[in-house]
């Protein structure tokens, strides 16, 4: 992302951003030790599939998963297919109930699900407006952020397109942009660059590094960690637990 096109900064007129910054500052002034932005402790999750009575299949996905993410960190969750990466992220995001354990998130959260979750009959601009209002942003802030994010992710030409008419890659860009719209302190990204072309993939990393430099915490699920140096921490989900690899 070009340096002269910054994403929203604290104090840019977006009340949501100011409120969040205030929260972070007040934490910094009252606590002596740094508080993790995300703390997950001993989380367990079992999926229960009910067949014809009395058949019940239980799939224990997470048994004792714990992790911590600090401010300004880019953290990866890796693991084999079906290991529980997305389950863990959905639990952190609050879209899936856990069976046991604790999850604490300090600050506002942006969640980008693995597959685009969007209203397919709405246009891109309408989608930004709807979610911007949900985040508590005013119209001016929504427009500015929309413009910045669409330029940063290179889909500025699709402003008035209905989502159902967008390619899978462009839908994924919008999916990611919605998670970033309110400039959250914590970003949860479930394979965010699936479907991106290489140039957008690089733009994504530029953007992530810029966000981390501004103290944002980013948790990324990835099957492959080709570029390990991009991550401050790497957790591997295996046998229901999170093992820190780095």
């Amino acid at each position: 992302m070009p340096a002269d096109e910054p994403l929203a900064q604290p104090g840019d007129g977006n009340p949501g951003v100011q409120a969040a910054t205030h929260t972070v500052r007040s934490q910094a002034s009252t606590l002596t030790a740094p508080v993790p932005r995300v703390r997950v402790e001993h989380v367990a999750k079992t999926y229960v599939q009910r067949g014809l009575w009395p058949l019940v299949r239980r799939n224990r996905v997470l048994t004792d998963a714990s992790l911590e993410i600090g401010a300004g960190e880019i953290t990866a969750i890796v693991g084999a297919n079906g290991s529980g990466k997305s389950t863990l992220m959905m639990i952190i995001a609050g879209v899936l109930e856990r069976d046991a354990g604790r999850v604490a998130v300090n600050g506002r959260m942006g969640y980008c699900p693995q597959t685009p979750v969007l209203y397919e009959k709405l246009t891109v601009a309408e989608t930004f407006r709807l979610f911007g209002i949900a985040y508590g942003m005013d119209d001016g802030s929504i427009r500015r952020r929309q413009s910045d994010l669409m330029a940063a992710l290179d889909f500025g030409d699709y402003h008035d397109y209905r989502i159902e008419h967008l390619s899978g890659g462009t839908q994924q860009k919008l999916n990611l942009a919605l998670a970033l719209l309110h400039d959250p302190e914590v970003l949860l990204l479930d394979e965010p660059y699936a479907g991106f072309d290489y140039e957008t993939y690089l733009r994504f990393w530029d953007m992530s590094e810029e966000l981390a430099a501004r103290g944002r915490s980013i948790l990324v699920i990835s099957h492959f960690v080709e570029q390990q140096e991009r991550f401050h921490k790497i957790y591997r989900v295996k046998d229901g637990r999170c093992e820190r690899e780095r």
């Binding site: 609050g94 879209v95 979750v117 009959k121 709807l130 979610f131 209002i133």
Partner: protein
Amino acid sequence: MAAVSANASAARRLSTPLAMFVRQYYRNVMNLVLLVVIPVLLILSYGDALSRLADDLPEVTLTRDMGQSLGALWSAAFLTGLTGFFMMVGARAADRRLVRAGYATSEVVLLRFVSVALLGAIATMVSFGVLLTRLTPTDFLQTLLVMYLAALIYGAVGILIGSLISGELEGSFALLFFFVMDAFIGSPLFGTTSEAFAFLPTFYPAKVLLALTAEQPHAAIHWLYIVLYLSAASTLAGVAFYRAARVR
């Protein structure tokens, strides 16, 4: 001034998703096709067929006007049921994301109900309009009202089924099965006497509408039953939707 600003902000917060929910519906061409086809089919064709069949059944009194009125009732109801169901099925995950983004679950549930009610009003008006091409009800207001209440009941049934059944195909079958039970087996043509049929969604609306069409008196308590049914269906649908959309 601050109060005015807060009110404007709250109005924007509620009116924007409401407008977009309704817009989503009308951008689906199939919904517009159904809005034309179903009233025509149920009022002109089915209503006629029902009354002609009744001509051959001496124990059933069902004039052509009554058959067409029933067709209009079921048209408004079925269209609104479809609206509620497909709105839920098509937007369940995105609604949950909207809640995750900052809307209260109760706000999204309320806005979905209001949008189904608005679309139900349109379905009722269209069905009523088609009915007017065939007959002139003596009591416009009550005829329209009972049709709209039946539509609202089915809207709630659609939302309930859409909240409980995630598959589009399975849910469509469930709604259709429910409708067939209600409109056909529960219809006066079958001369049903079992009290169990009183639990079908359009049992009392149909009774009231038939009485209105035949210009005969009907029990006022039937209106109360209709409102009670609507309240119960809406409560069940609201709880099911709330549980499906809430953030954990």
